[in-house]
C-alpha cells in the first residue's frame, strides 16, 4: 500500500510540474525564442518580460465561444482532445528523472513506475497518440482536418518504426528494458558516443513524433489551414497544445536518459549519495532536458517544412535502413565484446 502511495505522490508531483510549469513556460519560451531568432520583440506587455502571457492566453481561451460543427461526430470530436492528453499524461511515468537515494532508511527511486519493461511501456503508450489525430480528423467533418489527420497518422506510424529500432539497439547493449539500468550502463561512456547513428535517428524521429517543424505536415498552415485541429477552438485547441508540450518534454527526458547519461555530469560522474545528491542529479537532468527543449524551438524557426513525399521518403528510405544498420552494428559489437 505504501508503494502505491509513494508512486501516486511522485505522479502528482511530475504532473503538477508538467502542466503547471513546463507547458506555460514553453509557450512563453517558444514565442520569445521565435521573436529572438526572427529579430522581433515578441510578447512583452503582460507582466515582466511578457511572462504572464500564457496566463492571459488561457483566460482568453476560456472566454471564447465553444463551437461544435453541426455535422461533426460529437463523440469522436470531443474525445480527440482528451485522447491527445492520454499519452502525455502516461508516458512520463516510466522514464526516470533522478538518481536513487535513501531517505529515513527507505530507498526512493525517482521514477514513478520502476518497471522492468519501461522501454516497451513507453513505446506502447506513445503509440496511442495516433487515435487522437484520427478521431479529430474524422470527427470534425472537414476536408482539411481529414487530410491533416491522414497525413499525421501515416507520419506517426512511419517514424515510430525507426524509433523502435533505435531503442532496440540501446536494449541490445544494455540487456535490460529497465531505463534505470540504461543509465547505469552509461557509466563508462554515454550512448551518444557508442551509437551516434542511433542518436541521430532517435532525434529526428522525436521531432516527427511530436509533429514539430520540419515535420509539422499534419498542421501545415499554408496548405491545410491548421490540419487536424482546424475545427477546434477555445480550450479544445489549447488541450492539443498542452499534450504536445508535455510529449516534447517527455521525449527530451527520454533522449537525455537513453543517450546523454541521464543525471551524469560527464561519463562516470554520478551525484553523491543522499538527498542533496538526488537534487543535484535532478538538476543535471533538467539542464539536459532544457537544452533539448531549446533545440526543439531552435529547429522550428530555423528549418523550412518538408514536402509530404519528401517526408515519407526520409522516413522509409533513409531513417528505417539507418536504424536497422545501427541495430546490426551494435549487435555485432556487443557479441564481439567490444561494447
Amino acid at each position: 500500500m505504501n508503494e502505491i502511495l509513494e508512486a501516486l505522490v511522485k505522479y502528482a508531483a511530475i504532473l503538477a510540474f508538467m502542466l503547471g510549469v513546463v507547458a506555460p513556460v514553453m509557450v512563453w519560451v517558444e514565442r520569445r525564442g521565435m521573436a529572438l531568432i526572427q529579430d522581433r520583440r515578441g510578447p512583452n506587455r503582460v507582466g515582466p518580460f511578457g511572462l504572464l502571457q500564457p496566463l492571459a492566453d488561457a483566460f482568453k481561451f476560456i472566454f471564447k465561444e465553444e463551437i461544435i460543427p453541426a455535422q461533426a461526430d460529437k463523440v469522436l470530436y470531443l474525445a480527440a482532445p482528451a485522447l491527445a492528453l492520454v499519452p502525455a499524461l502516461t508516458t512520463f511515468t516510466v522514464v526516470p528523472f533522478g538518481p536513487t537515494f535513501n531517505y529515513a532508511g527507505k530507498e526512493i527511486k525517482l521514477v514513478v513506475i520502476d518497471s522492468d519493461i519501461g522501454a516497451l511501456m513507453f513505446l506502447a503508450l506513445a503509440g496511442l497518440g495516433v487515435y487522437s489525430l484520427i478521431c479529430a480528423g474524422y470527427g470534425s467533418y472537414n476536408k482539411y482536418s481529414l487530410l491533416g489527420s491522414l497525413r499525421a497518422s501515416a507520419q506517426l506510424i512511419s517514424y515510430e518504426l525507426s524509433m523502435g529500432f533505435a531503442i532496440l539497439a540501446i536494449l541490445v547493449s544494455t540487456a535490460s528494458f529497465n531505463l534505470l539500468d540504461v543509465i547505469d550502463y552509461q557509466n563508462s561512456m554515454w550512448n551518444i558516443v557508442y551509437q551516434p547513428l542511433g542518436f541521430l535517428v532517435f532525434l529526428v524521429t522525436a521531432f516527427a513524433e511530436t509533429n514539430r517543424v520540419p515535420f509539422d505536415l499534419p498542421e501545415s498552415e499554408s496548405e491545410l489551414v491548421a490540419g487536424f485541429n482546424t475545427e477546434y477552438g477555445a480550450m479544445k485547441f489549447a488541450l492539443f497544445f498542452m499534450g504536445e508540450y508535455v510529449n516534447m518534454t517527455t521525449l527530451s527526458l527520454l533522449l537525455a536518459v537513453l543517450y546523454l547519461g541521464g543525471w551524469q555530469l560527464y561519463p562516470g560522474w554520478t551525484p553523491p549519495e543522499g538527498i542533496v545528491g538526488a537534487i543535484i542529479g535532478v538538476l543535471i537532468t533538467l539542464a539536459k532536458v532544457i537544452f533539448m527543449m531549446w533545440l526543439f524551438v531552435w529547429v522550428r524557426f530555423t528549418l523550412p517544412r518538408f514536402r509530404y513525399d519528401q517526408l515519407m521518403k526520409l522516413g522509409w528510405k533513409v531513417l528505417l535502413p539507418l536504424s536497422i544498420t545501427n541495430l546490426v552494428i551494435v549487435t555485432i559489437l556487443v557479441n564481439k565484446g567490444i561494447l
Partner: protein
C-alpha cells in the same frame, strides 16, 4: 500489476481534465451559434460537397508497410535482451532473422515500389 496503477489513473485523468476544462470553457464562453458558423471551414467559400472523402490508397499502403515491419520488430524485442549473455548460435540466428526477414523484406518492398508514395504526381500511385 498494482505498480502500473498510475498509468490507469493517467488515462482516467486525461478524460477528466479534458472534460472539466471543456466544461468550464463551455460555461464561461458566449453561445451565439447560427447555421453558417456551424458549417465546416473551407477557407470562407460556400461548401461544395460532402467532407468525408474516399481515402487515397497510398495511406493503405503505408499501413501495410507498417504492420509488416512492426511485427518483425516485435519479434526482435525479446531477442534483444539475450544478445549480451548468449553464445554464437543465438547471435547467428538473430542476425539471420534480421537479414532474411527484415533486410530482404525491405528490399522486396523497396523494389516493388511499396515506399514510393506520391511519386511525381498523384496519378501513378501503384
Amino acid at each position: 500489476m498494482v505498480e502500473y496503477l498510475p498509468i490507469i489513473i493517467g488515462v482516467g485523468l486525461a478524460f477528466i481534465v479534458a472534460g472539466i476544462i471543456m466544461l468550464i470553457s463551455w460555461l464561461m464562453g458566449p453561445k451565439r451559434p447560427y447555421r453558417t458558423k456551424l458549417t465546416p471551414y473551407e477557407s470562407g467559400m460556400p461548401i461544395l460537397d460532402a467532407s468525408r472523402k474516399r481515402i487515397p490508397v497510398a495511406f493503405f499502403l503505408i499501413a501495410l508497410d507498417f504492420v509488416v515491419f512492426d511485427v518483425e520488430s516485435a519479434f526482435l524485442f525479446p531477442w534483444a535482451l539475450t544478445v549480451r549473455n548468449s553464445g554464437t548460435t543465438e547471435f547467428i540466428s538473430g542476425i539471420t532473422f534480421i537479414v532474411v526477414a527484415v533486410v530482404v523484406g525491405y528490399l522486396y518492398v523497396y523494389l516493388k515500389g511499396g515506399f514510393d508514395i506520391y511519386k511525381g504526381n498523384s496519378e501513378n500511385v501503384k
